[in-house]
């Protein structure tokens, strides 16, 4: 039976997708499409419903309501066939600590009915790709968090998947390890692999995602490319002002009009303005003497703050 997905048809399509656990609604009627070759992200804080959504896409968690098609199939009816073509990087590595690096890849390949010789060949290439070849004979347990993550990514690629699902690929990694993971994911993206990832790091979303949806409290609150989201929901620049303890509460009104919008956070004030330096100068002219002044470009963090009134990472 040969079936071909036409160019341009979405790899993943969700309409009114809902997941409830008892009376708790984890995902509340979300709509999204992921196109072939696209790098698509779910950005949101912990508990926003990202992982539940990913598990439904991964055909391991039945949906409560709504429509979902993955690779033009219904996960409810064609779970094994869909999973045969997905690569999954779960939030926790789920590696077998009793086996070696290489054995972890081989047995995972066997789950896809790949022969040992074929799996061995692919594993060698993949370990090269994630820079773990010199550790191939080592047990998994002594590996660092970053190495385990890379091994999990290599494992997810053993079946040459059409779509790679990554649930918080760099959470808990140190900056150096994160950049190494990003670099490998970026190479996959360049090769045309469709990536779907969740993250609560805006820098990760900005680095990796062509397009993303912002999730909050089980709902999608915005959708677009990182650039369009920033343009739509924020200003070009942000002026961050920190005042000595106790002063910020006494400012009321003194910052009005410095920028398009002023946001008061517990530890600092954000002034949204097209020209941050000009806003800083204006604040100085008004006699304000903050402890520190920082002008930066707007990020997805600002988008999230605007949409939900809360910081992304608390």
């Amino acid at each position: 039976m040969e079936s071909v997905i036409p160019v341009g048809a979405p790899m993943i399509r969700a309409r009114g997708l809902t997941k409830r656990f008892g009376s708790f609604t984890a995902v509340d009627g979300v709509d999204f499409d992921v196109a072939t070759g696209e790098s698509f992200g779910f950005l949101g804080p912990n508990g926003a419903g990202k992982t539940s959504t990913m598990r439904m896409i991964g055909a391991v968690s039945p949906r409560t309501a709504g429509e979902l098609s993955v690779l033009e199939m219904d996960p409810e009816e064609n779970g094994p066939r869909i999973r045969a073509r997905l690569g999954v990087v779960p939030q926790s590595d789920t590696l077998d600590t009793e086996l070696t690096v290489l054995e972890n890849l081989l047995i995972y390949g066997r789950y896809f009915d790949i022969s040992y010789s074929e799996a061995n060949q692919r594993a060698t290439e993949l370990l090269e790709f994630v820079q773990l070849n010199e550790r191939r004979k080592d047990l998994v347990e002594p590996l660092s968090g970053g190495m385990k993550r890379r091994l999990t990514i290599a494992r997810a690629l053993i079946n040459e998947p059409d779509v790679l699902l990554l649930d918080e690929p760099t959470t808990g990694l140190d900056p150096q390890a994160r950049h190494l993971v990003w670099d490998r994911l970026y190479r996959l993206k360049q090769r045309g692999t469709t990536l779907v990832l969740t993250t609560h790091y805006m820098d990760e979303a900005e680095q990796l995602c062509d397009r993303l949806v912002v999730m909050d409290k089980a709902k999608i609150v915005a959708e677009g490319s990182p650039r369009t989201l920033i343009e739509r929901y924020s200003t070009r620049e942000v002026l961050e002002l920190r005042f000595p303890v106790g002063i910020q509460e006494t400012l009321d009104g003194q910052l009005d009009g410095l920028g398009d919008r002023v946001e008061h956070l517990p530890d600092r004030v954000l002034v949204y303005a097209a020209d941050g330096e000009a806003a800083a100068a204006a604040a100085h002219d008004r006699g304000l003497r903050p402890e520190s002044v920082l002008v930066r470009r707007s990020s997805l963090e600002d988008v999230f703050l605007r949409l939900t009134g809360r910081s992304l990472v608390e």
């Binding site: 079936s3 391991v60 690779l71 094994p80 009915d113």
Partner: protein
Amino acid sequence: MTAIPAAGRAALRFPGLRKLEHSLLVYRRVWRGTFFGTLVSPVLFLSALGVALGSLVPQMTAFGGVPYLVFLAPGLLAAQAMQTATIESSWPLFAGFKWNKTFEAMIGTPQGVRDIVLGHLYWLVVRLTIVTGVFLAVMVVFGAVSSPTFLLAWPAAVLTGVAFGMPMAAWTATRKTENSFAIVFRFVVTPMFLFSGTFFPISQLPDAIEPVAWLVPLYHGVNLARTLAIGHDLNLVVLLIHVAVLLGIIIVSTLIAFRTFRRRLVV
């Protein structure tokens, strides 16, 4: 642009084999550590209880008056199978759910819940065949066999083990912590080990309690293994009852395991 590969095979292939491959791969790494116990346990039990204590036991009338060692050995064999399978279905299985989460990884592939459950069942059969095979070899060395039919006790012991391993597996899937496993050993496994006719014929129990033994799963395994091993007074009906009880437990508990594993993994 992307042709659907022959993944349809996934639905047709024999379920559970890949999980068995996984268990064998792990066993290849750890067998040296377990083999010592597999060999030493029957040596210790047969020498202390069969030979040393057995020398104090007067000639038995049961089973055609065999020496105590010959009486005891097949009972211990079945009990060893029970313990091995119960352990195999507790901590190692729990690791797949919680510590390593290897089952979560597995169901992200074309493998499903049934593959995990059946693969575990196959693994129990393999593991028990090894453990009870070593036990039988030790029995031969100790002169604890009296009839060539003793080899029939081998499949009987494997069947007994699986009849404990699968209910334990079904239950392990419902556990959130590992705390209750020790309780199972203390209050289920050990009492059965002591009072299921392993060490003495159940006719030694008070008359009122004797019929209760028939409700104890291990009794069926012990009596099946012993009757076949000694080859004396083979009553086909009784043997079939033992086999039917053990098989019935395996089938029902496997069906329950499908449900408990699914409830745990597919949420």
